[in-house]
Subunit: 340 residues, 2 copies
């Protein structure tokens, strides 16, 4: 791979997101409606989301939406409780929703099968309709990201978020349908932030570690940005909710650069206050949000803001990796389970 | 504070753990039995644990025990879903268990009140019987750590683990009662690992970041060790399950020192394999477990191993902080909510 080719795939796939998300919203709406009908007929009261890696961060987004907006007690599974410990749990009123772009992570396929054996309604959210995970599920919700060739997930992640939002709409959050239709446009406009992204990447070149911060519905983006920084740029970043940072890690965080993700809503002041405190303590703060250093289109409400908020982080990871002489398309030691 | 006094409180409180845990096992058994009876009479099927910081890591331990051994679908709450978003969730067959040593974290008290308003059976696990959290709960399980004066939680954490194990016993994991009675002795014998701890601390003096790794029931200890390293020694450590490290962060982890926690059981080989891979990649590995570099008494089964496994990590944090000229009793910028 030549230096000039580094990041070509990741850049292209980041740019494809408006179309990929638009296709996914259209394609998953009827699938989500069918799953919601099945959940109602089974009197489902709770949701267990099964995932690893970036898909686990999408699952966390789903957790907030499905509990916060649809009233379903939701949690991220600890897969080993199913695959290894065979937890004797009654899942007869539970939706087990596995999230995996490839649909081929053996642990997740196995965990979904165990959930079925305990009585769960089982569903798969995947980018591959023909995957073992889809085959193992009663219902498949299939994202329309198209083949993702860069190892670092980008369009498969945002399409997972879009599909989870579509599921939340089907499960009762009807008011999100109209703003969800605006998500492709918001992502498109956010892609224009290339110049400030390059400047921010250049300013982070010499850093070894960082924190990524958000809260509430956008907390998942802090975790996803941190994982992407590790994978692509080798920057040892850790994601926190602003609330958790205050409960201890703030001691060590004062000296570290911080990516801070701002969304509208009732927790905006909390994020703003922590950003000011970190800046006052001497941290290099990269502020991401509507009207911020890395500007994000402001068309989306709090619950959908993550779909656009992640975009500057993706661009930043790609640029920083290339500046550091890395190829973000092929991080050393990482593999996609399959190239859907 | 003189340098000679640095860590005096934390060292003393680490050493008090055998007695504190023994007292807690005795005191919480009847409280746990009463709560279990109430849970059965209410036909409780799921558990939501509410906590922040070290208490959140104890809550994660509780999640594994209560789901893995007692069959109750368990999760860690996202407190903002209750305090800010007022999730319209039905908790009528749910136990909401708040964990807070002080019992005075306003967010947790508020979240517990919200859970009650949604129908939950509400309980508090706290070191302070007179706290607002205990007052807000139907049932209090009160740890017997005594006053904890160092800011970094040690004996309040292990007594929380012991109380959660007592609750698991009351909720059906009867076979854990006898080994739980052996925990104080196992902790006592593990406290003897002072010499290798000092050597390990000295070897980590020049490090800026680290990873802490474990899996299954002991995953909580990786998170707790990482938080303690941040708080007391300013070392930017992040905790992972070994499974999650393989899903991405392994790219950046190869160069970092690693604290690896070994427990008996079906996931021991997974942890062993990752430790070998990290060592082969050049990481300085601090191996913690029975017969390891930092030896842990081997008397406890997998589900109770965390009670002893955390002890070398506590000692290591205290020693490393002092070597670095810090006072682990009073990390800058951190406060206990109250000195129970």
């Amino acid at each position: 791979v030549t230096a000039a080719a580094a990041g070509v795939l990741m850049r292209a796939e980041i740019a494809e997101q408006p179309e990929a998300v638009a296709r996914t919203i259209d394609a998953t709406a009827p699938q989500a409606a069918a799953l919601a009908a099945a959940a109602r007929s089974r009197d489902v009261r709770s949701v267990v989301l099964l995932a690893r890696g970036s898909s686990d961060h999408a699952a966390l987004y789903g957790r907030y939406l499905l509990e916060g907006r649809c009233g379903l007690l939701s949690s991220l599974a600890a897969p080993s409780l199913y695959t290894t410990y065979r937890a004797p749990v009654d899942l007869s009123r539970t939706l087990a929703l596995a999230v995996s772009q490839s649909g081929e992570v053996p642990e997740i396929v196995e965990a979904l099968g165990y959930a079925r054996s305990r009585g769960a309604l089982v569903a798969a959210l995947t980018n591959s309709a023909g995957s073992p995970l889809a085959a193992a599920a009663d219902h498949a919700i299939v994202t329309q990201a198209g083949p993702e060739r860069a190892v670092a997930a980008t369009k498969t992640f945002t399409t997972q978020l879009a599909a989870l939002a579509a599921l939340a709409v089907a499960l009762g959050a009807r008011d999100l349908a109209a703003p969800l239709a605006r998500a492709p446009g918001a992502i498109e406009r956010t892609l224009a932030c290339q110049a400030p992204v390059l400047a921010a990447a250049a300013s982070l070149r010499g850093e070894r570690a960082a924190v990524c911060l958000a809260r509430g519905y956008s907390f998942c983006i802090a975790l996803e940005a941190a994982l992407k920084l590790k994978e692509t740029a080798g920057l040892w970043a850790e994601g926190f909710s602003t609330a958790d940072l205050r409960h201890g890690p703030t001691v060590a965080a004062g000296a570290l650069p911080a990516l801070v993700f701002h969304a509208p809503g009732r927790l905006a002041n909390d994020v703003e206050a922590l950003e000011r405190a970190l800046a006052a303590a001497g941290s290099r703060v990269v502020s991401i949000g509507a009207g911020r250093e890395l500007p994000v289109d402001g068309a989306l409400p709090e619950e959908l803001a993550p779909l656009a908020l992640v975009v500057p982080a993706q661009l930043l990871c790609e640029r920083l990796a290339v500046l550091l002489g890395r190829d973000p398309d092929r991080p050393p030691g990482l593999h996609k389970v399959t190239q859907t």
